[in-house]
Amino acid sequence: MSKIAKKKLLIGFAVIITVSLIFALLLSETPSEIPSASKSPEDVTVLAVGESTPVFKEVINELKDHGALVKTLDKLPDFTEYAPATTEEIDESTAVLFDGEWLEGNWENPELHNFLRVVVPKKCKLTAVGGATSNFFKALDKAGIFEIPVTETGEIRNPAYMDPPLVGYRVKVKEGSVGDEIFLAFGDDVMKALLEWLKN
């Protein structure tokens, strides 16, 4: 084989390898995921809904002590009236805290369902503290966001049927896919559990 032929052969292979690598890169491309850094309470805006029980008040006060910006809502924002300005303030760094007792009287409230439908896609963290926290998943189910499993024999399998002191839900992106996360805390250190949930 002449030197020129060898040179041509080498160039040919170099082209093949380059094209192969480009193809490989293109074919193996997956949706990018931006890793979110661990948050501290100072980075979180908390919307507190239905401040009534002592445990809820205590949690709110501790969150303020930890530097979280807490906005107490007397009633749910009417997004149909204020959109989009109000909804733009809600994002991944927002946590909505529902008082479990407030949820007891409101989980069937259509205004709550509308609120949930607006805020859930914004990937904010939704949380219920104290009281009958199982109502949190009932509200999500009614809003068409999270379907509570029901067995063929009609048993309702609410993930929080035992009313743990703290429950949470959010939509998130992981490994390039959009899915959701359920948070269930047990034990008596609600504040530690809440800080854990808020920071991840």
Partner: protein, 245 residues
């Protein structure tokens, strides 16, 4: 000249691999669907963390069945680490059962760790292709899923029964009393695979952790205290299984 030929052959092989491997692997892939995070701050004994991640096998070429993958990261942080006291981790236990059980519609088809280990380590390996190939689909690629952990002074007891009548996967990790492993954070990564005929299924899960502490009198150990926490039953519902048929 011989070296040149060898180098060229190598280059061709590499280029072919880089070109075709992603194509071969593309027909089937695991897609994450849901996380369930169970958290227990159990002051002063310790902290319990359990992250359950659920995946579905996508584009597997099989119309009649779905495969779901449940992976766990079960972590105990003893009081010694978290609350600066003398509480250690004694054991943790994980129990899962498919619902409905006792039918052939949904089955646990693989799980790990399998069998009861000694005190040296645990290894878990799954190859999705092997599972799917049993059904004869034209899936070209292979997806392997491996978890290996090797820790001394831990006994893993496998109490699973994947017979259709029970569909149960159950593990107990017992840490040697007050060995180094029990004094610090301990994490286990079990997992299992569910094959579903396209109907609705979910998995019940229940978990416990036991912490232990030595009690002293005049510098002598007189007793050992053990405190156990058990979660109530959770429904681990993979969001992509067909609901309420």
């Amino acid at each position: 000249m011989r070296e040149l030929r060898t180098a060229l052959a190598l280059l061709i092989a590499i280029s072919m691999l880089t070109l075709f491997c992603p194509v071969m692997a593309s027909p089937g892939y695991l897609q994450w669907k849901r996380d369930v995070q169970i958290y227990g701050a159990l002051s002063p004994y310790g902290v319990y963390n359990n992250l359950v991640s659920m995946y579905k096998l996508m584009d597997d070429g099989v119309a009649n069945y779905d495969w779901f993958y449940y992976t766990f990261l079960i972590q105990t942080v003893p009081g010694r680490v978290e609350y600066h006291n003398s509480w250690c981790t004694d054991k943790h236990w994980a129990w899962q059962r498919l619902w409905p059980y006792g039918t052939s519609d949904e089955d646990v088809v693989d799980y790990g760790p399998t069998t009861t280990s000694g005190t040296t380590g645990v290894s878990t390996t799954y190859t999705v292709q092997a599972l799917v190939s049993k059904e004869g689909p034209a899936i070209g690629g292979s997806i392997s899923w491996t978890t290996t952990y090797s820790i001394s002074d831990v006994i893993v007891r496998d109490k699973s029964n994947i017979a259709a009548a029970t569909d149960r996967v159950e593990w107990e990790h017992e840490l040697k009393d007050f060995a180094e492993v029990s004094k610090y954070t301990y994490a286990a990564k079990p997992a299992f695979v569910v094959k579903d005929n396209g109907g609705y299924c979910f998995c019940d899960g229940q978990y416990s952790v036991t912490f232990c502490k030595k009690n002293y009198f005049l510098g002598i150990v007189v007793s050992i205290s053990r405190v156990k926490f058990t979660t109530l039953l959770f429904a681990l519902d993979c969001p992509d299984s067909q609901k309420n048929p």
